[in-house]
Every structure is written in C-alpha cells, then in structure tokens.
C-alpha cells in the first residue's frame, strides 16, 4: 500500500499496534497473572492455608475417592452430576460437589461443594466467597461485564492484530540480530525503542506461540466451517467423535445401584499402575444410565486432553476412552491448548513462562509509550494537543498504571471485605474496576510527569499494603511463609513487594517539576555562556 513492502509493514505494525495495545496489555497482564492462578486462589482463601501438600499424593487417591464416594452416596444419591477434584501438585485441597436441581431461569444447575483436608479427610470450613485466580484467568479472554461471545470475538480480533504486529515487527526490525543485546539508557526515544525491541526479541518464540495458540483455544467459535462442512451434524458430531467420553447419557427414571468405585479403579490401575487421577465425574448416579468418567493427569506431556475413561455406572464396563492414540493432526491441535495454558509447567518452566509474559507486557507498554511520544514530538510549540494525543496519553496512564493498581486493590479487598457480604466475589471484582476507574480519573485530569509520578507512588503504596494487610488479617505473614515453606503464599507476597520496589524506582526516575525547571535553567545558562564565549 506504500512505496515499498518495508514501509507498508512499518505502517501496519504501528497501526495494528495502536488500535488494540491497551486491550492487549489487559490480556497479557491478566494472562501472565493467570499462570499462577492456582497460587492466587490459594492466597485468596486463607481458610485453607494450613492444609499441607501430601507426601504420598498419588498413592492416597484410591482411599480418597472411596471416602468421597461414600459421602456423595449419603448426601446426594440422586443428583444428576457428581464431581471429585483430587489434590494436584499446585492445589492441595480435596474437594467434591454435586449438582442441585436446576431452578427455572437458571442457565446451569448450582453446584454444592465441600472441601476436605486430604491428609485427615476432615471437612474444611467453607472458604470465603472469592473468584481468586480464576478472576484473572477469565478476565483475559471473557473480559468482564459484557457477554462472553462478544468478548471472545473482540479478544480474537485483538489477538489477530497482535500476531500481525509480531510478524510485521520481525519484518521491519532489520537489525534484529545486531541489536539483540543493545540497550542505550537515558537516550529518550532511542531508549524506549531499544526497550521495545529487546522485550520483543528476547521472548519472541513465546510471544508468537502464546498469541497463535491463544486464538486456537477459541478457534471453533471463530471457524466452525471445516467441521460444519465435513460433518453432516457439524461441530457437535466432530466433538463427539474426538471426545466420545463427553457423550452424556440421558437421565433415566429407573433406579439401579452404582457400581463399586474400586471396580473402576482396578481397571485403571491395571492399565497404568501409577495413574495420577485428576477428576472423577459421575452422571445420573444410581440410575440405569449412570456413567463414571475418570480424568488422568497429563503431567509434563504437551497435551491438553490426557487419558480419559468413560465407564458404565451400572456394570463398570469401559465404554469409551479418549486421549490415547491421538493421530498426528489431533496431537498437533491438542498440543496448542496445552502450550497456551501451560498447565504442564512445573516451577522452573512456570516462572520462565511468567517472565516471558512480563516481557510481553513490557513490549506492549513500551509500544504504547512510543506512540504517545511520537504524537507529542509532532506537536509544534504553539499547537494544542489533539484529541488523538490526549486520548493516547490518557489511555496509557490509565491502563499501564491502572491495572497493577487495580490488581493490588483486588488482593486488599479480598482481605478486607466482610466475609458475610452478599455476592462477595463480585464485589471484590467491583473493587478492581473501581480502582482502575480511579486511575482513569487521574489520567483524565492530566498527563504530566507528576501525574505519572503520583500514580507510581500510589501503586507502590498499594503493592506494599498487600502483604501488610495480609499479615494483619490472617494468621500468617511473609516471614512465616518462608519459615514454613509455603511457597505459593511467599511467592505472591514477594511479588507484591518486588512490584512495590519497582514502582518506587519508577517514581524516583521520573524527574520532578523542579528538576525539569533546574535542568532547563542550566541548559539555558550553558547556551548563553557558549554564545558569549
């Protein structure tokens, strides 16, 4: 569209970047936090902090499943849906639930959950009503306060723009290998460009992978057409062929006793002696069409749909399995979701994922800032800022400073909101958005350097407040977490302390009004001296 391919790609890179950078920052920010969503959920539920990770986690599963089955038979023998969540390496709680009858007007039947300490099988007090890490997880693709379908279309479009920005960025970065380690500090626009280039290049495989696979997770919503064309019954038929274990039998009125769970477990352990079970589902318990579904953990395999088995609930016969013997094409597709969610990642890889996510946020943030600087540099001395410039600068301050502030506010609200508050989880989320709104108001009121400095201060205070409020309102604190080796909690408190220090550093680096004036004065004096001398 321009004179050369290079110029067109440069134009495209900056424009697709500009159109969605703030939304992309939200997606990357929430997504990066989501890599530790289990840990955030643990932090958000202090009622479960004393539960220790089991020593023999996999070996205890059979006993735990038996115990829970007995409980469910007692509590909800006729529920249409049972669910057992076994403890995982990152989530030590054993929980189970059953579906209560669906009331008219409800989209889904409400689930009644019970949480147990897996070491003692004692019931834990119900944790406070909070979404925990799942808020950030859902935020990065379902957004919030808008319907899910619209949100996902917007996120898909933004992710497509991100992918185009990455590809065009590679095309136009001619010195990609020469400048890989270059960072020239304190050189104004050059430094911002270097920061943008370095943060993009150092995690380039990650950025491309996470963006591409992100769109793939929503691909059947975006492109149902191949499935609809090839299969007569379309998407539904395709999913049934791919995952036969998901075929739910229709509920039946006829009562039949549920097979003893050990029959099912024996079959699984015969197949794989050290099977690590993640979930057990029971559909239509104690009826003629009951089904038992068992999900095995995927461990470090790059797969999303691990081995899953469907058993007839009356006879105990294995009726279907999926996740075994995937074809190459199926593995190719399935690995995409696994790569994106990073569920396979153990601590080292998980921290590397997180680090790359932070690099992604830095890449987008530096891009946003360069746009604002470029628009401001075009401004002549007597010109007033255009609406476009004001908009870009406002969104920059509101988003880049507002999201960390809102996050800290969310964590503080988790500790301070009364436990019996109605719809407590939604109110925590409301606090997040109100804090973000507060930062937007600051941004609307002005975008000078001192506004940035004040928001850096606000962020630093909010971040330091999180571990302080935590210490004041729960039994533990940052030091005790280290002593008792509760790494999830220690990690989150540490992350806030680090973030607070970084915001303090930022506030120091932004020159104050006085410094700017003094510098201008000394420059003027220097110029005058040179003229005279």
């Amino acid at each position: 569209m321009k004179e050369s391919f290079f110029r067109s790609m440069a134009w495209l890179h900056t424009w697709v970047g500009l159109l969605v950078c703030w939304l992309l920052f939200l997606i990357f920010f929430a997504g990066t936090i989501s890599f530790f969503k289990d840990e955030v959920t643990i932090w958000a539920e202090p009622e479960t902090h004393h539960v220790k990770q089991q020593v023999q986690r996999v070996q205890s599963q059979a006993e735990q499943i038996n115990y829970v089955f007995a409980q469910l038979q007692h509590q909800a023998p006729n529920s249409l849906s049972w669910r057992i969540n076994l403890p995982e390496p990152r989530n030590p709680i054993l929980s189970y639930g059953y579906a209560e009858p669906k009331q008219p007007g409800q989209r889904r039947a409400p689930f009644n959950y019970t949480h147990l300490d897996p070491n003692t099988l004692e019931q834990l007090p119900a944790p406070r009503d909070t979404k925990g890490g799942n808020f950030f997880y859902r935020l990065h693709f379902d957004l919030h306060y808008i319907d899910v379908f619209t949100a996902r279309i917007i996120v898909c479009l933004a992710s497509l723009f991100m992918l185009v920005a990455l590809v065009t960025g590679i095309v136009i970065h001619k010195r990609i290998f020469k400048d890989m380690f270059s960072f020239r500090a304190n050189k104004g626009s050059r430094s911002w460009l270097d920061a943008h280039n370095v943060s993009s290049v150092l995690a380039l495989p990650f950025h491309i992978m996470i963006t591409y696979t992100g769109i793939i997770t929503l691909i059947f919503m975006l492109f149902p057409y191949p499935a609809e064309t090839v299969y007569e019954d379309g998407l539904k038929q395709m999913f049934e062929e791919a995952l036969p274990i998901n075929k739910r039998a229709k509920p039946s009125e006829e009562q039949r006793p549920l097979i003893a769970i050990n029959d099912v477990l024996d079959q699984i352990y015969t197949k794989s002696p050290n099977a690590d079970i993640s979930y057990v589902f029971v559909r239509n318990a104690n009826t003629a069409t009951s089904q038992i579904v068992v999900y095995l953990a995927t461990g470090k395999d790059v797969v999303d749909n691990g081995p899953r088995y469907l058993f007839n609930g009356v006879t105990g016969e294995l009726e279907a399995s999926s996740g075994e013997d995937w074809s190459a094409s199926a593995q190719f597709y399935d690995s995409m979701t696994a790569l994106h969610s990073g569920r396979l990642a153990e601590p080292l890889l998980r921290w590397l994922y997180f680090f790359c996510g932070v690099a992604g946020c830095a890449m987008i943030a530096t891009g946003c800032i360069m746009w604002a600087k470029r628009l401001r540099e075009r401004l002549k001395a007597d010109q007033k800022p255009s609406f476009g410039l004001k908009l870009v600068e406002t969104l920059n301050l509101a988003t880049l400073m507002g999201l960390p502030f809102a996050t800290a506010a969310f964590f503080i609200a988790n500790r301070l909101l009364p436990l019996e508050l109605a719809e407590r989880a939604d109110k925590e989320i409301l606090v997040f958005f109100l804090a973000w709104l507060a930062m937007l108001i600051i941004a609307v009121s002005g975008r000078e350097k001192h506004h940035w400095r004040y928001s850096a201060w606000l962020n630093a205070i909010a971040c330091f407040l999180v571990p302080v409020v935590n210490a004041l309102t729960t039994d533990g604190n940052w030091i005790t977490y280290l002593l008792t080796k509760q790494w999830a909690l220690f990690g989150i408190d540490s992350a806030f302390i680090c973030a607070g220090l970084l915001f303090l550093l930022q506030s120091k680096k932004i020159p104050s009004h006085k410094t700017v004036i003094n510098k201008a004065k000394s420059n003027k004096n220097r110029l005058l001296k040179e003229q005279q001398g």
């Binding site: 020469k178 890989m180 380690f181 270059s182 960072f183 020239r184 500090a185 370095v198 290049v201 150092l202 995690a203 495989p205 990650f206 992978m209 470090k300 395999d301 790059v302 690995s335 790569l339 396979l344 990642a345 080292l348 890889l349 590397l352 994922y353 680090f355 790359c356 690099a359």
Partner: protein, 111 residues
Amino acid sequence: MMELLQFSLCFLGFNCFALAKFNHFRDVFKKKLTEKQRHSFLMSGWITILLSLLLSVLNDGGYGALLFCGYMALSVVMLMILYSFTVSWVKYVSVLTMSVLLLSGFSVMIL
C-alpha cells in the same frame, strides 16, 4: 543440576554470539575483532546453543524444548543487562559460567 547445565550452555552460547559483534567485543577487550576470532565465536556459540537444545530435548522431549526457549529468553535479558550496564563484569561472568557448566556437567555425569 541438569537444568543448570542446559542453561549455562545456552548462556555461554549467546555470550559467544554477543562477543562476535564488533561493538561488544571492543567494549570488553578494547581491541578490534578479527575475522578469525569472529568465526570461532560464532561456531562456539552455535555449538553450545545446539548442545543445550539437544540436552533439553533428550532429557524431557517437548517439555525440554519449552524449557530451552525459556533459557534463551533469560540468557538474552541477562546478557543485555551485562553488556549495557556492567561491561566490566563480562570476563568474570564468562569464567563463572564456564565453571558452573563444568561443575554441573560433572555432577550430571557422576550422579
């Protein structure tokens, strides 16, 4: 230990790539980079990086490949900080990396 070996190989490899550039070599050694030196740095860089990738994949398959991409990202950011802010440390860090490499290599072979 194995991860430390894989990472130090990757880090050393990228360090060689950095030293194969005229500006970085000049900052560290205060001399001009000769073509022969440039070639040897590039070769060593490629060999050590590919060795790191090979070890990661042989050890853990697809998971190892992911770890390797993470090592690359971490190496690049550390080297960027090193060459932009603390160039005088490069020699010491390189020696440290090589020692870590040898030590972790020995412990992996012995244990």
